[in-house]
Each structure stands twice: as structure tokens, then as C-alpha cells.
């Protein structure tokens, strides 16, 4: 089973995330998979992507879960 914390860490270590979103690296120091209603929509969607994938869910379910997360953040 894939290590979701390790994967999330690799994503948050990627500067590209900060180019594409409004968050700063410092604000993601204590990032966890708990939902953050005030969080950036890209970061929350990324968390959902990794969490859902690491749970072994099918591709179509992972995409659906991200769509739900995006709608929640509108």
C-alpha cells in the first residue's frame, strides 16, 4: 500500500505547488489529511487525490472525490 504521508510530503516539497496556488511553504509545514474548510482549493484537492488513491480506490472514484472537494470549496 502506498505511503500517503510520504507522497504528500513529496508534493509539498515541490515548488511548483506554490507557483500554482496562493499558499506559502510555511503554511504547509504541519499539513495533514484532515479537511481544512479554509484551506486552498488546490491543496485540498491534492490531499483528496492522494488520500483516495492510497486507499486503493478506482481511478473514476478518485476523480469523483476530487470533484466533490472542488464543489465544497466553491
Amino acid at each position: 500500500m502506498a505511503n500517503r504521508n510520504e507522497i504528500l510530503k513529496n508534493f509539498t516539497n515541490n515548488e511548483k505547488l506554490y507557483e500554482l496556488s496562493d499558499v506559502s511553504p510555511e503554511s504547509l509545514n504541519d499539513i495533514s489529511f484532515n479537511p481544512d474548510p479554509a484551506g486552498d482549493v488546490l491543496v485540498e484537492s491534492l490531499k483528496k487525490l492522494i488520500f483516495s488513491y492510497c486507499k486503493g480506490e478506482a481511478k473514476i472514484t478518485v476523480i469523483k472525490n476530487i470533484n466533490i472537494e472542488i464543489e465544497k470549496n466553491l
Binding site: N10, F11, N14, K16, L42, L49, I50, K59, I70, N73
Partner: protein
């Protein structure tokens, strides 16, 4: 799992019962020594057969199944002793222990019936039995658990890298094959998780973009136009995908040609000149490529500059001067008219006195304002009657007043007058910078050509005709594929721009507000897709860097006892998806002429580094190898054992090394486990006969 022991009954050259053919193991490096033809490979086959129902056929250099092996599974002596119509049985028993200390016995069995002295009826398949030790006794395991237990003894993806024959090392880590190491990395690391995430986000991006286009079409003011655009988008996306596939293939081909080219350059005798030329070539190629990229961007930006830098207004100055003159005249005329109006407005205001009073004044022929008489027909009377027509007169001055429009035009043209005067020099600066870049690229190309020619001359000096042909072929391929990649890039940029244009057109046709969730999903999936691809690249690059460091550490420790020049291992990352191993000198130039044993050692170091990348593998599973150090000198072989002892909890090495040693203490290896010697015994001494042969297994003591 860790292996406690293996025992054989009438399996190949191991004639006799389990008791006489048992090899027990401990943690550390377990060494089984044997001279050529004394059963080393047969012992390795025993491990493999027990787990995988296959043996390695050295003659054909491939694995064969029990069915294909037939009667060769059985000991010749056991077959000879078997009576006609009786059965001969071969069996392997492997005892393993898992990380919780639970022991398992794995039995593999095969039977054959002797039909006559030359013919056997061999069972079509072998059978397997697994027992688990529970509390105080062995219990048969349910067959449904067999597969998972065997997988726990050694996971399938680790099998080729942990249980291998020395002669397999070359194909496992084929330095001439770009994908060999990449496949190992993919199998043995978690990089495939990132590949999956790239795949999911790409799908999400495509789906959400499609949904957005459907939503935009639904809200389109011109649905037939939207549909036409949609068709164009689909076609362009197909073109883009094809072009990207082409570029990927061209990049791979170019890299292969570069590897071949480097290989030949490094085989040249004049090493110093080679190093200088190579350094110049690399620096010039990098500079030329950077300039080419800058030139492409500049040329692509020319269209935009027509508008963003107002180049489109060049030569408009006379028209602006003409317009300014006309505007001045218009203003003069306009102000004159306006002045007349002003005069009219300075008279009594319209409706003062009100028409009723004016008519009264005309009737009374007197002005009520000043009190003068105004007899009918007098000038005063005419003036009073003229008051009735004031309104009509003042409204005719500016029927269509365009002065504010003309002023706006004038202000705009004045603003651009300064810009326009600088356009000529801006264009000429841009084109002179393009010309300069072109000249530099052309000069660099010439220098690159000269260096390549010089390489060619060096190769011609000391290489055969075939190598020269090969060199020219690689050189031409590099040039051809570089050109092809440039063409791909130009096309990809053009199609991407066109797709952006089509997206803008679709957006413009939308009436009302599209669904916000659909819009947001398209944007977020697009970003997630970029992010996943970029993170995959970073993870792969870090993985390769760690692997390179780990392999070099192992390689250095393996070669400590040998004082020759060994170079170091370099893992060259290609197109961010594959990596290619090469041995380089301290300047990073490929080290030519490494001997076979050195190359084998590098490959083993790399395999160990890959296996070590997940610490649990080297701690939880046993490495079993037959003749991994063949072709190696004693120093190299001892280096290999040192590295093995340091990095693996348990290993079993079946080898020719130490064949002259008679005591365990003569073998100077740290972390040494048990040591055995295999010895073929032919009782009557006739070495042409195998049907009396059996193998002695003797443990060496201190």
C-alpha cells in the same frame, strides 16, 4: 523470509535421502563452495524449483518448467537403482521463517515411473505441500494460502534481483539497454505510484475540460459555430498528442545515438584531446541550444509584438500629422460657431419675457421692460417680434456635435505619436538581436562541426572501417533527430497557440454564466496534472541521485582491495522518465575499456543499491546467487562479499571462490555465516559415467 535449511532427495546430482543432503543456514553470508561440475548450479536449482517449479538450463541460458525438464529432475543414480515398473521420487524441502518467527516447510515433489531402462513416464506436474509449525507440531496449511506464503518467502518482483545466476547479471543490468535499470527502479521503488497519479490527473484534466466545453456549448450564442470549434479542438488535440509522441520517440532516438557516439569517442586513444574536445563540444552544444531556444521564442513573439509593441502603427506618422491639421481647422471653425451661439445665449434667455407678454407688448406697441414705445413697423417693434423666434435660431448651431469624438481621437493619436517615433528603432533592435543570435548559432554549429570532424579524424586514426561507419551513423542520427525535435517543438507550440485561440473563441460565444463547479474543476485538474507530472519528475530524479550515491558507496567498498583505476558510476537521467548507467572518470567522461569483472561488480553494486533502497527487503529476504563473482579476481570477489555482508541480513552464495580453502577461518570475510563444500563422488572413478554419481555436502569448521 529467512531460510533455515534446504534438503534434497534424489534431486539432480543430490542422490540419497534428505538427511545426507541437508544444508542449514544462519544469518550473514552463507558460502557453498564447489569446483566446476560439483553441483553448484544444481543446488541453486533446488531453491528455484522448490519455490517456482522451474530450473535454470545453463545450456540454453533460460528457465525451463518441470514438464520441459522431464526426467532430468531426478538423480541418475536413483534412476539406475529404480526397478522397471517402480517409481522414482525427487523432493526438495525448504524451511523458512517469517519476521514473527513462524516457521514454514515447503515441499516440492515429482514422481516418475520406470517403463524400461531408457524410458520414463514422468508426472506432468510437480506437487507442492506447505506446513506451518504451530505450538508443538507441524500442521498442513490450507492450499488457498500457498500462493501468499510463497510470495512472502520472496515477493515476485524481487525474484530476478535476489535469486539470480551470475550469468544473468548482464541482462538484469544491461548497460546497452536504456530501459534495463529503469525497469528495475520501477519494479523496486514506489515511482509507479507517481505514474498512477500522473495518469489519474491527466484523465481528470481531459474529462473536466470536456465538461467545460459542453457547458460552454450549452450556453453558446451560436451553437453551430461552437460545434465547429469543438470539432477543431478535438482534431488539434489529436495532432498535439501525435506530435508529442513523435517528439518523445525522436528524443529517445537522439539519446541512444548520443550514447553510441560517446561510447565511440571514449574508445579513442588520444584521451587528453578527447577530453578537451568533449568539454568544448558540451559547452558549445549547450550554448547553441540555449541560443536556438531564445531565437525560437523571439521569432514566435514577433506576431505578438506587432500589437504589444505597437509595431503595426509604423509609418502612420504622416496620417497622424494630416489628421492633426484637420482637427486644428475643425476646432477653429467649431469655436467660431460656438462663439456666435454664446452671443445669442447672452441675449435675453429664451421665454423671458414669456411669449404671452411679448405678444401683449406687440399688441400695445410698447416695451414693458424699458418703457419705450414700439410703433408697428418701427425697429423696436421688429426687435420685440424677433424675440418670438429665438429658440429656433439657437438650436441650429450644432446639429451633430462630433467634437468630443474628434478630441478623443486627437488625444489618442498624440499619445501614440511618441511611441510611433520609437517603433523603427525598436524593430531594428529586435531584428539585429535575432541576426546576432543566428550568427552565433551558425558560428557554434561550424565549431561543433569542426570538433566532430576532429573526433572523426581521431577515430579514423585508430579504429576499423566498421567503427568509423558506426561513428558517422551516430553523428548523423544526432543531427537528424535534433532537427526533427526542433520541428516537433515548433509544431507543438503552434498547435498549443491554436488551441488557446479556439478556447478563447468558445468563451466569447458564451452567453450568461457557466456552472462555477465545472469551471473550477477544469482549472484545478489542469493544475493538478501539471503538479503531478512535475512531482513525478522530482521524485524520480531524487531516487536516481540516491541510487547513484548508494551504488557508488557499495562499489567503492567492493573495490577497496583493488588499487586499479575504477572510475565511478554515473546514472544519466534521460527525458525525465528513464535513466542510463555508465562508468565515468573524475571529469565525467565515459570510462572506456573497463574490464568484464569491473563491469560485473558495478552491476552488482547497482543491484544491491536498488534492493537496499527499501531497507526491509535486504533485512527480510535472503539473497541466493550462483557464481555472482565468476570472472572476478580474488580482491574483487572479497570486496563483493564484504558489501554483501554489510547490506544484507542473510545471503547464500554458491561459488568457485575459496575452492582451495580447507578451513572456515581461512576465509577472510566479515559477517560470514555457514560454509560448505560440495564434492562429486564417483565410486568406481569412471568420470564418463554419471549413474553412480552422488554429491557430498561437507560443512567447513573453524
Amino acid at each position: 523470509m529467512i531460510i533455515n535449511y534446504i534438503s534434497m532427495l534424489n534431486f539432480q546430482c543430490f542422490y540419497g535421502n534428505h538427511e545426507s543432503n541437508t544444508v542449514a543456514f544462519s544469518d550473514g553470508i552463507n558460502v557453498i563452495i564447489g569446483d566446476n561440475g560439483h553441483g553448484k548450479s544444481k543446488l541453486w536449482n533446488a531453491f528455484y524449483w522448490a519455490l517456482y517449479d522451474q530450473i535454470f538450463d545453463s545450456d540454453r541460458e533460460r528457465f525451463v518448467t518441470t514438464r520441459q525438464s522431464g526426467e532430468s529432475i531426478f538423480s541418475d543414480r536413483a534412476k539406475k537403482e529404480c526397478a522397471v515398473e517402480e517409481f522414482v521420487k525427487a523432493e526438495i524441502k525448504l524451511e523458512v521463517v517469517d519476521s514473527q518467527g513462524v516457521r514454514f516447510e515447503i515441499y516440492r515433489m515429482l514422481k516418475a515411473k520406470k517403463l524400461d531402462d531408457h524410458n520414463w513416464e514422468v508426472a506432468p506436474t510437480s506437487s507442492i505441500l506447505i506446513r506451518r509449525y504451530k505450538v508443538t507440531q507441524w500442521q498442513k496449511v490450507n492450499e488457498s494460502e500457498y500462493r501468499s506464503i510463497l510470495e512472502r518467502v520472496l515477493p515476485g518482483h524481487l525474484k530476478p534481483y535476489m535469486w539470480f545466476q551470475g550469468e544473468q547479471v548482464n541482462s538484469l543490468m544491461d548497460f546497452q539497454n536504456q530501459t534495463s535499470l529503469t525497469q528495475a527502479i520501477q519494479l523496486l521503488s514506489d515511482i509507479t505510484n507517481y505514474d498512477d497519479l500522473v495518469d489519474i490527473t491527466r484523465d481528470g484534466k481531459e474529462k473536466s475540460a470536456k465538461e467545460l466545453r459542453i457547458e460552454q456549448k450549452r450556453l453558446s450564442s451560436d451553437s453551430s459555430k461552437s460545434e465547429a470549434i469543438e470539432r477543431q479542438v478535438t482534431n488539434k488535440q489529436k495532432d498535439l498528442e501525435e506530435e508529442e509522441r513523435d517528439r518523445e520517440s525522436n528524443t529517445r532516438n537522439k539519446e541512444e545515438a548520443e550514447i553510441g557516439f560517446d561510447g565511440l569517442i571514449n574508445s579513442m586513444s588520444d584521451a587528453q584531446k578527447r577530453a578537451e574536445n568533449k568539454a568544448n563540444l558540451d559547452s558549445l552544444t549547450n550554448k547553441r541550444d540555449a541560443n536556438s531556444q531564445q531565437l525560437d521564442s523571439k521569432i514566435q513573439a514577433l506576431n505578438k509584438k506587432l500589437f504589444s509593441s505597437h509595431w503595426v502603427l509604423k509609418d502612420c506618422e504622416p496620417s497622424i500629422t494630416d489628421f492633426s491639421g484637420k482637427y486644428d481647422k475643425f476646432l477653429e471653425h467649431h469655436y467660431q460657431k460656438a462663439a456666435l451661439d454664446k452671443i445669442a445665449e447672452s441675449q435675453l434667455p429664451v421665454d423671458v419675457p414669456q411669449p404671452i407678454f411679448v405678444n401683449k407688448m406687440l399688441a400695445d406697441e410698447a416695451c414693458f421692460v424699458c418703457g419705450h414705445l414700439a410703433p408697428k413697423g418701427s425697429d423696436e417693434y421688429k426687435h420685440i417680434s424677433g424675440l418670438l423666434d429665438r429658440k429656433i435660431q439657437s438650436s441650429t448651431t450644432f446639429k451633430n456635435d462630433c467634437s468630443s469624438l474628434f478630441k478623443k481621437l486627437y488625444d489618442n493619436t498624440t499619445e501614440y505619436k511618441n511611441v510611433i517615433s520609437g517603433i523603427g528603432s525598436s524593430i531594428s533592435e529586435e531584428f539585429s538581436s535575432i541576426t546576432k543570435l543566428r550568427n552565433e548559432i551558425s558560428s557554434d554549429n561550424k565549431s561543433i562541426e569542426d570538433i566532430n570532424k576532429s573526433f572523426g579524424e581521431l577515430v579514423e586514426k585508430d579504429q576499423s572501417e566498421n567503427i568509423i561507419k558506426e561513428f558517422r551513423k551516430h553523428k548523423k542520427n544526432i543531427e537528424d533527430f535534433t532537427d526533427a525535435i526542433n520541428v516537433n517543438n515548433i509544431k507543438i507550440n503552434r498547435i498549443t497557440d491554436e488551441l488557446e485561440g479556439l478556447k478563447t473563441q468558445t468563451k466569447k460565444l458564451v452567453v450568461g454564466s457557466p456552472n462555477k463547479a465545472v469551471e473550477a474543476a477544469a482549472e484545478i485538474f489542469n493544475k493538478l496534472s501539471v503538479l503531478a507530472l512535475s512531482t513525478r519528475g522530482l521524485v524520480f530524479s531524487n531516487l536516481v541521485k540516491d541510487l547513484e550515491k548508494s551504488a557508488n558507496d557499495i562499489y567503492q567498498s567492493m573495490t577497496e582491495r583493488n588499487k586499479s583505476v575504477i572510475g565511478r558510476l554515473n546514472l544519466r537521467i534521460m527525458d525525465s522518465k528513464t535513466c542510463f548507467p555508465e562508468i565515468v572518470d573524475s571529469d565525467g567522461n565515459s570510462l572506456a575499456g573497463s574490464n568484464d569483472s569491473n563491469i560485473r561488480l558495478v552491476k552488482l553494486a547497482l543491484m544491491m543499491a536498488v534492493l537496499k533502497s527499501t531497507s526491509t527487503w535486504s533485512q527480510n529476504y535472503c539473497l541466493v546467487s550462483d557464481a555472482p563473482t565468476s570472472k572476478m579476481s580474488r580482491n574483487y570477489a572479497e570486496g563483493f562479499y564484504e558489501a554483501l555482508g554489510k547490506n544484507f541480513r542473510q545471503s547464500i552464495v554458491i561459488t568457485f571462490d575459496f575452492v582451495t580453502e580447507t578451513k572456515k577461518s581461512d576465509i577472510k570475510i566479515n559477517n560470514l555465516g555457514k560454509v560448505y563444500k560440495l564434492n562429486s563422488v564417483i565410486p568406481d572413478g569412471d568420470r564418463t559415467k554419471r549413474d553412480d554419481l552422488y554429491t557430498e555436502i561437507k560443512e567447513l569448521d573453524l
